[in-house]
């Protein structure tokens, strides 16, 4: 048998005894993000299935790639400000951290505003939820991503509020590092979406 029950007791077996809440939470966040990968994966699959099913309505040609590239750049920049915020809090520099958090929120909101603008444009050009499976899949995929950005903005705002009340430390229910992990994930998902939805269609 590969695993004898009489294994010699070794020192390194003790490693698992360490129970830093930090490690536990990070494990859970990674697992959650793994789940999110499948969530977006299923929506991206749907989009790929329907990418050409436009029912003679508007299709990929209505995308304004330069505009969306710009808003993608904004979202990517927000990952940088998030990193800066995180490292500021690691240095226990609450003030600096707050500033970067506010910057991140601002960039996130800008991205969302861009998305709303884009949606309005597309609807005016005749692409709605009901036009075609292409329309349904496009709005669902980008819409759920937008909802994730919005949830991230909400989390960041809470962090700012906690920080102002001086209650932001790793021992509290929410911490910057986990939010950062989430935020970066949402950005990475956007890179995939941008590539699959906007760039591959050209």
């Amino acid at each position: 048998m590969a695993v004898a029950t009489d294994d010699v007791f070794e020192e390194h077996d003790f490693e698992s005894t360490a129970d830093p809440i930090h490690r536990t939470r990070k494990t859970a966040m990674w697992i959650w993000l793994g789940s999110e990968v499948f969530f977006f994966g299923a929506m991206i699959s749907t989009f790929l299935l329907y990418r050409n099913t436009t029912n003679d309505g508007p299709g990929a040609e209505i995308f304004n790639v330069p505009f969306t590239s710009a808003s993608s750049f904004i979202l990517l920049t927000s990952s940088l400000t998030m990193v800066l915020a995180d490292s500021a809090f690691q240095r226990r520099d609450q003030r600096q951290g707050r500033i970067w958090l506010i910057g991140t929120v601002g960039l996130g909101l800008t991205f969302l505003a861009g998305q709303i603008f884009e949606f309005t444009e597309f609807v005016e050009q005749g692409l709605t939820l009901s036009t075609s499976p292409f329309g349904s899949a496009f709005y669902m995929l980008t819409g759920f991503h937008g909802a994730h950005v919005a949830a991230g903005v909400l989390m960041l705002s809470l962090l700012i509020a906690f920080s102002l009340r001086g209650r932001l430390s790793p021992d509290h229910g929410m911490n910057v590092e986990l939010t950062a992990l989430y935020w970066h994930f949402v950005d990475i998902v956007w890179i995939v979406i941008f590539t699959v939805v906007y760039l591959l269609q050209i």
Binding site: M1, A2, A4, T5
Partner: protein
């Protein structure tokens, strides 16, 4: 035991299996009758059956291919079952705690050789099953060959539309009928299937495995009924849940000799006559006013002019009188049953006509139009006369 009896009495519709001259004594027919031991019976029940809608009662080349494969996997599975369960039962009796035995068992943690052996043996058995499986799949899915009868099947909630595109009437309209499928024996029929509303599944177990009817898709199935099965009526039904009357979305397949089939097709491609005397005259007026909202009929004026009356949203009624069942085989086609149907269709089988939307073509059943007894009698006279 349920396996022993044969159906002799037409109890529900007229699909009933009539005693057939048992030419050539089909295999695995009457074995089950003689055994009464339950396990053996159960096993045999899984091998053979004389029941009319049974998959173990194959009557076509395709169904027999499937059945042969089933017998193979059943035999292998039974051997595995007996061996493994026997080992389990033996272990329970052999190793149960006995009185006066205070010794503890040997602490065995495992045995890698055994693990390898009992991984490889099942894998080998599976290979033995996989090879014929793959062959049969490609066989059954290969295009039909020879002089093929083509039928387009459309599933509707809750009835079947059959169209023979190669059999046309004088005006070039293909033969269209509902719920009763006629097939010549000894020849391959290819069914091309789709759905008008939700997913259905075409299942006539003695003739073929099931195949779904998916809106927006076309699916295919081949049936080559055995040459000695002419004259049999084989029941089938929808096998994919399609809401209220799923259980009542049945069909009946008539296996016919080439000449019977040709005669039937010739009759079906004739128009129905517009009645000139009797109750049916006013019945036709009601038909045009109400039934024609959904049903269609190809009719001939007394002067021979042929016209199409009505919309093709519900079963074609041109030859309604020639069908042996109504309502997708929920009742036998008698004047009494037809009157009940017209009077209150949802009492015969559950439907949701309140949700009908003629504009978009969504039909979920026939409404009760509140006709009085006289009007109903007139309609019955008309429809039963259209044979």
């Amino acid at each position: 035991m349920t396996l022993g009896y044969r159906l002799i009495r037409p109890s529900y519709g007229s699909y009933v299996q009539r005693p057939v001259a048992n030419a050539g004594g089909r295999r695995r027919r009457s074995v089950s009758r003689t055994l009464s031991v339950v396990p053996a019976t159960v096993l045999l029940a899984a091998c053979s059956s004389t029941l009319p809608q049974s998959s173990l009662n194959p009557k076509s080349a395709e169904a027999r291919q499937i059945d042969d494969l089933w017998i193979l996997v059943l035999v292998l599975a039974t051997i595995v079952f007996v061996v493994v369960e026997a080992a389990l039962v033996f272990a329970i009796f052999r190793f149960r705690k006995r009185k006066n035995d205070d010794r503890e068992p040997k602490q065995i943690h495992g045995n890698t050789t055994l693990e390898i052996v009992w991984s490889i043996i099942p894998a080998l058995i599976l290979v033995a099953v996989t090879v014929p499986t793959v062959r049969t799949v490609f066989d059954l899915r290969s295009p039909a060959e020879g002089d093929v009868v083509r039928v387009n099947v459309t599933g509707h909630q809750w009835w079947w539309e059959f169209e023979y595109p190669d059999i046309v009437d004088d005006q070039g309209r293909p033969l269209t009928t509902a719920n009763e499928l006629h097939l010549p024996v000894g020849r391959t029929t290819e069914l091309t299937m789709t759905s008008a509303d939700v997913i259905h599944s075409f299942w006539v177990p003695p003739l073929a495995g099931k195949r779904d009817l998916v809106p927006g898709h076309e699916t295919f199935i081949k049936i080559t009924p055995d040459a000695d099965r002419a004259g049999e009526e084989i029941p089938g039904q929808c096998a994919e849940f399609c809401w209220l009357s799923h259980a009542d979305m049945r069909l009946l397949v008539f296996l016919q000799t080439e000449s019977d089939f040709a005669a039937w097709a010739a009759g079906e491609t004739q128009p129905a006559n517009i009645p000139t005397d009797g109750l049916a005259v006013s019945g036709f007026e009601t038909f045009k006013a109400i039934c024609a909202l959904c049903h269609q009929a190809v009719v001939a004026e007394p002067d021979g002019t042929v016209t199409v009356v009505g919309e093709a949203l519900a079963p074609d009624l041109t030859h309604f009188g020639s069908r042996s069942t109504l309502g997708a085989r929920v009742e036998s086609n008698t004047a009494e049953h037809l009157a009940q149907w017209i009077d209150n269709p949802s009492a015969v089988k559950p439907m949701a006509p309140d949700l009908n939307d003629l504009e978009t073509g969504r039909i979920l059943g026939m409404p009760d139009y509140g006709l009085d007894d006289e009007e109903i009698a007139e309609l019955v006279a008309l429809l039963e006369g259209w044979s």
